[in-house]
Symmetry: C2
Subunit: 352 residues, 2 copies
């Protein structure tokens, strides 16, 4: 492959001149022609590695997500990449497949590859670990958290107003006559799951419906095992298909099953819908139901499902915008948490 040196020889000009021109500097027009010709003839392409070594910038950002198998992150990434691209950055995506070690490894590799910034949908990583990564290279590398926050880690975050998302969902169920409402949430150490749980509790409380004693977020109690209480209206899953499937079945096998159910992410919604189908339960008719994220799905089943839709594109865009500002050096700004509103596709039918 040809280097800038080859171009220099071919064009009969110095390295400095070539470099300057290639980086947008001013060069006499006849020299410009010579360089263009040389570049063309040699098929020269800059070696970004070498450039980065010198400039300390790679014009790349790393995007780290727990999985690429659900549409949620796919569309977020799409919007994010588009935003970054307009400013000359490209994004490299890594999935850690819900694996604790892999999450950390991906972050480190990205960091060692000198990305200029990181967008992370975190799961297991701790504030301390993230701080180490953020400070590994010279000055603090910009990190933007999406979807989930991390307790004790100060940075910019773009999240959904999870509390009001479930609050609204549960409120609708209450308004249509339900009093005995179950919820399937995610692991309590994930911020989204915790917040969604709180929204559920608050809605019940506001409407004077007693909340199960154990239906409290982990920060306020020792509840953490999903197998804590087989009769609780709050069941804690793992945000995966199997959890939704299994926990819907558990609900239905209670002595006093709920009359309505709220399921709080994509995979668990798919699992719950599948389980319901296999039990010949028609969601939205036999029991009230609100799912999360699976927007395509709600058009396909009868009756249509109520679904909380999260603004994934907006989330990606906002994350990109903030990251761009940080990478441009706006360090004096306070760190911010952007909280986006979700949208409830409401198809709840009033009871009896």
């Amino acid at each position: 492959m040809s280097t800038i040196k080859d171009v220099s020889k071919y064009a009969g000009l110095s390295l400095a001149t070539i470099s300057k021109y290639l980086n947008g500097g001013n060069v006499r027009s006849d020299n410009r022609r010579k360089i263009d010709e040389a570049v063309e003839a040699l098929g020269y392409r800059v070696n970004r590695n070498a450039r980065s070594l010198k400039t300390n910038r790679t014009m790349t950002v790393g995007v780290v997500v727990p999985t690429l198998s659900i549409p949620f992150f796919g569309s977020m990434i799409s919007a994010l990449d588009q935003t970054l691209r307009t400013n000359g950055y490209t994004s490299f995506v890594c999935s850690y497949d819900f694996d604790r070690d892999l999450e950390l490894e991906k972050l480190r590799v990205l960091c060692n590859n000198n990305v200029d910034g990181i967008v992370l949908a975190a799961q297991y990583v701790s504030a301390a670990e993230l701080n180490e990564i953020r400070n590994a290279r010279g000055q603090q590398m910009p990190v933007v958290l999406v979807d989930r926050t991390i307790a004790g880690f100060v940075c910019d975050s773009i999240v959904i107003d999870n509390l009001n998302a479930t609050y609204g969902a549960v409120e609708q169920l209450i308004n249509s006559g339900h009093r005995r409402i179950g919820i399937i949430v995610g692991p309590m150490d994930i911020s989204t799951a915790n917040e969604r749980m709180i929204g559920y509790r608050r809605a019940l409380k506001d409407y004077g419906i007693p909340v199960d004693a154990d239906a409290v977020p982990v920060s306020e109690s020792s509840l953490s095992s999903e197998d804590g209480n087989f009769n609780s209206m709050v069941q804690i899953g793992k945000y995966d298909f199997e959890s939704g499937y299994r926990l819907l079945n558990r609900f239905m096998e209670m002595e006093q099953p709920p009359t309505a159910l709220c399921v709080t992410n994509y995979d668990m919604t798919m699992g719950a819908v599948t389980a319901a189908h296999e039990r010949n339960i028609v969601l939205g008719r036999d029991i009230g139901f609100v799912g999360f994220d699976a927007v395509d799905l709600c058009r396909i089943v009868t009756p249509p499902l109520s679904i909380v839709e999260q603004p994934t594109m907006l989330m990606g865009q906002r994350a990109g915008e903030i990251l761009l500002r940080r990478m441009a050096g706006e360090t004096q700004e306070y760190h911010q948490i952007v909280r986006l509103k979700s949208h409830l596709h409401n198809r709840i039918v009033t009871l009896g």
Copy 2:
């Protein structure tokens, strides 16, 4: 941030010794201790940019796909990454969002970033363009194509036996009594779409069912517009939701609609299922139906859908294995096309 130089000073050893040790060389045990201590104390991390500049290897591979919003590529990438990781490589994923220019740009950026290999699910890029990219850096960079091949581009490819996938699907429909079978395929310049179309035609032919005159692959005719024939049993979509939705409706509005339908990718299957639902057509009962990829879906609707499932994980794994061999320098091997079998989840009910 600290460099190898700092480690050298801190440990009181030469650069060469540090570098050697850090790369697995032999060093006296007391020195080993000193170095470990220095690395720990300084929080030293190798600068991969600098290393790559010297070694000409980045230990990264670029993965380029048309979208991250369908599970198909997500699970392929997962298996691919896992395979690569066992050999010390990490993968950086880029989506081009079905955009022609972006596809090329992503490939170029990856190439300029000196990835050691590329896995590509191609759509628009030409053989000439790919060749240029492959040869841009020194010796030929390993490129493995997944899912789709490119006419005239010689390389390793992992694809599905698309022809027999649709052949099998259509055969089942024929066996259950259908004679008038429609198909919704993708753009004819995508190899998978072309092959799926051929499988359809061959099945009809083998069973003595007349094929619409215009139901021919693009290589054999000028057919390319999806609006070519409003009454054809072959309708050409764009592999997106909207195509499936619109073309199912078109089929149903024909004077003589098909009695069975085969839809040949994920998004179009979702679109078709949605459209059918809105028309109150029960797929699998009112008309025969086989979809593609949407495996979750087939458990959720009644009656369960017949679906062609593609071995996405295996595809990613195989792609990784071949790429690893190429990156290890096995250049003498012939380029190969690995053709994986798909699996038909058959729930077709025999016609009354």
